[in-house]
């Protein structure tokens, strides 16, 4: 049971040069086992900087990051171990593929953990299964596959380390809708089967509404809001002020209400909208 807590975290880039910039300021958060979180925020709001603190890739300028109450930056051993417990998939992860075969690339993480050979093979097969990478691709070069397939292989490379907390920075950026949906479904399935905490960094509100139970909204380097989708998406006007949208379904529901169709309850996914419209009797059930 991993509990990750962040206390008064501040990070400043290039201290003491003309390029000095504070990316995140005084962030306090607690993430518990099994949560499904979406980290939202406009470009430059500090999301990516924040997540790189959670596995000690970046060290705080001030403040603490703790796992189960222990400082992850205590020494170089805790900094190494945290990378196995908190898996981070970067934006456009396909650009980090380098091995000659798909299987070898997925095995890179477990190999660095110095696991026995058959254990590595198990994990590669398991991770590939989670992300929908077919075994027939294992001996191909990752560089000659399509963008979506590369993305899946890169995500499998992190899942193969069996992290307790899996963080994905914009996992669907640059993919077509069908590709995005499969990847999001794969991630959901992974979370349900493994019980891992999953945190997705995104600015796609529809993904956030559909896949997350908790939303954390960043704005200008601070946590602007932290709560359930209902709570966050109720503040439509303020969200657009900080450069974010509400999900399409919420927008549509709002427009229908303005036209006098009485829709009940909080609506931010397509399913909720459809059900509410049916209940209101505006559409005959099909």
């Amino acid at each position: 049971m991993a509990v990750l807590s962040v206390e008064n975290l501040t990070h400043t880039y290039s201290v003491g040069t003309p390029f000095q910039k504070t990316a995140i300021r005084d962030v306090n958060l607690t993430i518990t086992q099994g949560e499904s979180i979406c980290l939202l925020g406009h470009t430059g709001s500090g999301k990516s900087t924040f997540v790189q603190h959670l596995n000690a890739l970046l060290q705080p300028t001030s403040g603490l990051v703790k796992i189960d109450g222990e400082d992850i930056n205590k020494d170089k051993y805790t900094r190494r171990d945290i990378k196995r417990r908190v898996g981070l998939v970067f934006q456009y992860p396909e650009y980090q593929l380098f091995e000659e075969t798909v299987a070898a690339d997925i095995a890179y993480g477990p190999k660095n953990m110095k696991l026995p050979k058959d254990e590595i093979e198990d994990r590669v097969r398991e991770a590939a299964g989670f992300t929908g990478v077919d075994v027939s691709l294992f001996d191909r070069s990752p560089l000659e596959l399509s963008g979506g397939q590369k993305r899946r292989i890169a995500i499998a490379g992190v899942i193969a380390m069996r992290p307790e907390i899996l963080i994905l920075d914009e996992p669907t950026a640059g993919l077509d809708p069908a590709g995005s949906r499969t990847i999001m479904e794969n991630i959901r399935a992974y979370r349900e089967k493994s019980g891992a905490t999953v945190m997705i960094v995104s600015h796609n509100m529809d993904d956030a509404a559909r896949y997350a139970e908790r939303l954390i909204v960043f704005s200008e380097g601070t946590v602007w809001m932290d709560g359930s989708p209902e709570k966050v998406f109720a503040r439509t006007a303020e969200l657009s002020e900080i450069g974010l949208d509400v999900p399409m379904a919420a927008e549509l529901a709002e427009a229908l209400r303005r036209r006098g169709i009485p829709l009940e309850g909080a609506i931010y996914t397509h399913e909720q909208l459809l059900n509410a419209v049916r209940r209101a009797g505006a559409v005959p059930a099909c």
């Binding site: 290039s14 003491g16 040069t17 003309p18 790189q52 596995n55 890739l57 190494r80 990378k83 196995r84 898996g87 981070l88 998939v89 970067f90 992860p93 650009y95 980090q96 593929l97 380098f98 890179y108 993480g109 660095n112 953990m113 560089l143 490379g157 992190v158 380390m161």
Partner: protein, 265 residues
Amino acid sequence: MLKDITLGQYFPGNTVIHRLDPRTKLIFVLLYIIALFNAKGWAANGVMIAVTLLSMAISHISLKNIFKGLKPMMFIIALTALLNLFYTQGTPIREGWIITWEGIERSVKMMLRITLLITGTFLLTYTTSPMALTDGLERLMNPLKKLHVPVHEMTLMMSMALRFIPTLIEETDKIMSAQKARGADFETGNLIERAKALLPILVPLFVSAFRRADELAVAMESRCYHGGEGRTRLKQLHFTGIDFVALFLGLLLVAGIFVLKHYGL
């Protein structure tokens, strides 16, 4: 870590030195180097130090930034100093010692010369954007076009290379972070292990560098780029009064150093 590389870095500012025409700065640095290599005596070296410190003060570049740039050169500076210290003939500082008074003097002067040389050129890149620098260089080398030297192509390559240094550094940083997140270890192990650990960085870096080069070529062609012939510029370079003053001061410096050399100072 990698972000601390200051090679060819530009510190934006609005001082007199920042505003000088890049051609002026290039010529001034050339004159400065000529003066530096003719500064033999202590008086002449003193003048060179004064000029360097003055330029730093005017351009608001701090000693700290200069030292940061000098750090990678420390080894060369130290080696030169040591060689001069032990291999200079003269009167030993004590009976039977190899180290001579002349050796000490010479090694101090050599250290000074290399340090000033690097500082002077750093001041140029710190105060001039890479674009302005290559523009200035192209204009200065323009006469060579008559001899069919591909000046435009050369400066274009140079400005692209300079332009991509920060991009590639950023990219390397990103790939390193990603591989570190997968448990890569670049700091421990013997030489062979460390060299092997670099492979996961170098392969993606080369792949992306080639991709970038390809994309850049397509982007240039689709905007009808066809070389330097008849090409106009957004920023025209103009000499102003202050440039002539700077060039005059540069010539004065060289003349002064030669006078001091003549009198053996």
